[in-house]
């Protein structure tokens, strides 16, 4: 089976895909090891769906190579590739019953009739749809259709499962239920999965790794925690949640850390290659990692409250900091007396230690 290609289940090597003059995927390299749940996350037009379609074989790369289980599959048509896919609109065959939909891939692979029946039954049991065999897709709810699509995809035991925003058309409650089910199912059968979404929360909830895409390239790839706690670029810092960004100055280096001056205060950040003492640096901090204090409390950035949004569990404060810079601070309402500041109050902003990160140009 192996032809000396890469070991991971899915590998993209310097893949570029252009449509006319539009470059949808730009020199992208990606390794997806066996069993990993990887999300491709990004705004619309970032190239995430094209990447998925390149793996599927619905598109062919303009440059570069695609490997599935070590085999180069450039120009291998989709129906000869070892994958299956769940589409955004589920794409269930309306003229076939649930059982026939699920059996379709097995029929195409010429699996004998008896084995086919067993596997269809097992797959439907796995998605809790036993007893729905003879229904037609039109007679099912959105969530049930979703599960049929999932059963149809996993019953063929593909090397890779591709999911193209499969939860996008479900309502919020159902979507959250399906997220849990999807992840449990994926873990149970240990299938390598590529999940395309523009929903950051969904990507963080489901994935082992998230690749954040922008302009046809991967901006940053890592575990959900890495991406949230240590975004590398402005784009990632603002696409995953909100960030307060500061222009600082490196004032020294010690023990793998850099001391950075932001206005009147100093913070420590992880040392990054490319930083130099005395040079400028862009740093950022998440809104929930800033503590508000009294205006005369030492070690804080002075700011004035411009807008307050009370959300029950948290309160969002919008502030005007030094040089008119706007800041966002989220405060957890741990007691009824937490954060009772009102508009126009002067406060001081205290950045939690180790929560400040350096942004590369992006």
């Amino acid at each position: 089976m192996s032809t000396g290609g890469p070991a991971a289940d899915v590998v993209l090597r310097r893949v570029t895909k252009s449509f006319g003059s539009v470059v949808a995927v730009n020199d992208l390299t990606l390794d997806i090891p066996r069993g990993m749940f990887l999300s491709l996350l990004g705004p619309s037009g970032c190239g995430k769906t094209t990447t998925l379609r390149l793996i599927a074989g619905f598109e062919q790369p303009s440059e570069g190579d695609v490997f599935i289980r070590g085999q180069r599959v450039n120009f291998v048509p989709a129906y000869r590739r070892d994958f299956s896919m769940v589409f955004q609109n589920f794409a269930l065959f309306p003229h076939m019953t649930v059982a026939k939909n699920v059996a379709f891939g097995l029929r195409m692979r010429r699996v004998p009739h008896a084995e086919r029946e067993t596997r269809v039954r097992e797959a439907l049991a796995l998605v809790h749809l036993t007893g729905f065999e003879q229904r037609y897709p039109k007679q099912l709810s959105g969530g049930q259709q979703q599960r049929v699509a999932l059963a149809r995809a996993i019953v063929v035991r593909p090397a890779v499962l591709l999911l193209d925003e499969p939860l996008g058309s479900l309502d919020k409650k159902l979507r959250e239920e399906m997220q849990v089910e999807l992840r449990q199912l994926q873990r149970a059968i240990g299938i390598t999965t590529v999940f395309v979404t523009h929903d950051q929360e969904e990507a963080l909830t489901l994935s082992d790794r998230v690749a954040i895409m922008n302009g046809g390239q991967i901006e940053q790839m890592g575990t959900p925690r890495e991406l949230y706690e240590r975004p590398a670029t402005d784009f990632v810092a603002n696409f995953l949640g909100v960030s307060n960004i500061f222009e600082g100055r490196v004032i020294g280096r010690q023990d793998g850390e850099a001391r950075v001056a932001i206005g009147p205060i100093q913070v420590s950040v992880d040392w990054e290659p490319g930083l130099e003492a005395g040079g400028p640096v862009r740093v950022a901090v998440r809104p929930e990692k800033i503590r508000l204090g009294a205006p005369d409390e030492p070690g804080g950035l002075p700011a004035r409250l411009r807008h307050v949004v009370y959300l029950g569990a948290t309160t969002h404060f919008y502030l005007e900091g030094p040089e008119g810079r706007s800041l966002v601070v989220h405060v957890q309402n741990v007691s009824p007396d937490t954060a009772l500041w009102t508009l126009g109050d002067n406060v001081s902003c205290h950045l939690e230690p180790r929560s400040v990160f350096v942004l590369r140009k992006g």
Partner: protein, 289 residues
């Protein structure tokens, strides 16, 4: 208040439906019932129909080998024209739905263009090509390939070809409309599950286009059954069909027989329509068996 509104709204709906409904009753259902009444009477020399109530007209049609032969020929022509137009039209429709919308509408316009030329003129066009002194016989005769002119006219085949060229656009338009509603995602889903182009077509595209196949076949079949000018001009006296017999009966003032023939034609249409719908099952696209 709400009830009043609903009352007004339903009244409005009735007001809109009523005029065409009355028109339809007065000028279609009424005459049809009257025609049936006429068909159940004997022939009269002086009146439109005689005084005796009888099913003799129908018995004669069903019992007469001549009529049975004409009925069979009519059915053959209908099935041949509709079947051939499906076979020729499907690949055309399939390639048209794969085109860009602008090119597709251009081609649809081109398809409609021949419909602007009268059937009489088109039939004479065929005569100019296929007749004894037509283009084909003249050219083949001039180059010395023929001793005597080929008898290309006045046969069932000529009628079928003539009707096919007239009715093919209807079939293609029905098929294009049906194929456009087939979600391309479904074809990709089939491929993702390992179906090549052939099996994707067989298991997904073809069954999902059955509404278009059914409407195209029925439209072409029924139009063939009721065609007159083309049949008359290209088929001549040798290749008469049921409609020609209705016409002949009317021309000789045998109204009850004409009426009975009309109902036999209607019965055939209904029977074939039912069988086609049973066979093609276009409703399966809706996921109802």
């Amino acid at each position: 208040m709400e009830r009043l509104l609903r009352f007004i709204r339903t009244r409005w709906a009735w007001a809109l439906v009523l005029p065409p409904l009355l028109f339809f009753l007065a000028f279609f259902v009424g005459p049809l019932l009257y025609l049936f009444f006429v068909s159940l009477h004997d022939v009269s020399q002086a009146e439109m129909y005689g005084t005796r109530f009888t099913v003799e007209n129908y018995v004669r049609i069903v019992g007469d080998p001549f009529y049975l032969f004409i009925i069979r020929r009519t059915l053959t022509a209908g099935l041949a024209v509709s079947g051939l137009s499906l076979l020729i039209g499907y690949p055309v429709a399939l390639s048209m739905v794969r085109m860009s919308p602008s090119r597709r509408s251009l081609l649809l316009m081109a398809l409609l263009f021949p419909l602007m030329v009268s059937n009489v003129i088109r039939a004479y066009g065929w005569i100019a090509i296929l007749g004894r002194r037509g283009v084909i016989n003249n050219v083949l005769g001039d180059v010395g390939l023929l001793q005597a002119p080929l008898p290309l006219m006045y046969s069932l085949e000529t009628v079928v070809v003539g009707l096919l060229t007239i009715l093919l656009p209807y079939m293609i338009i029905c098929l294009v409309n049906a194929l456009l509603t087939v979600d391309r995602n479904l074809e990709e889903a089939a491929q993702a599950l390992g179906a090549g182009p052939g099996r994707t077509f067989l298991h997904v595209t073809l069954p999902l286009s059955t509404p278009g196949i059914a409407s195209g076949l029925l439209l072409v079949f029924l139009l063939t059954l009721s065609a007159y000018v083309t049949v008359q001009l290209l088929g001549g006296a040798q290749s008469k069909m049921l409609v020609s017999l209705v016409y002949d009966s009317v021309m000789t003032f045998v109204w009850p027989r004409a009426a009975a023939l009309a109902f036999v034609l209607l019965a055939i249409s209904l029977a074939v329509t039912t069988m086609m719908l049973k066979g093609i099952r276009p409703q399966r696209v809706q996921g109802k068996g």
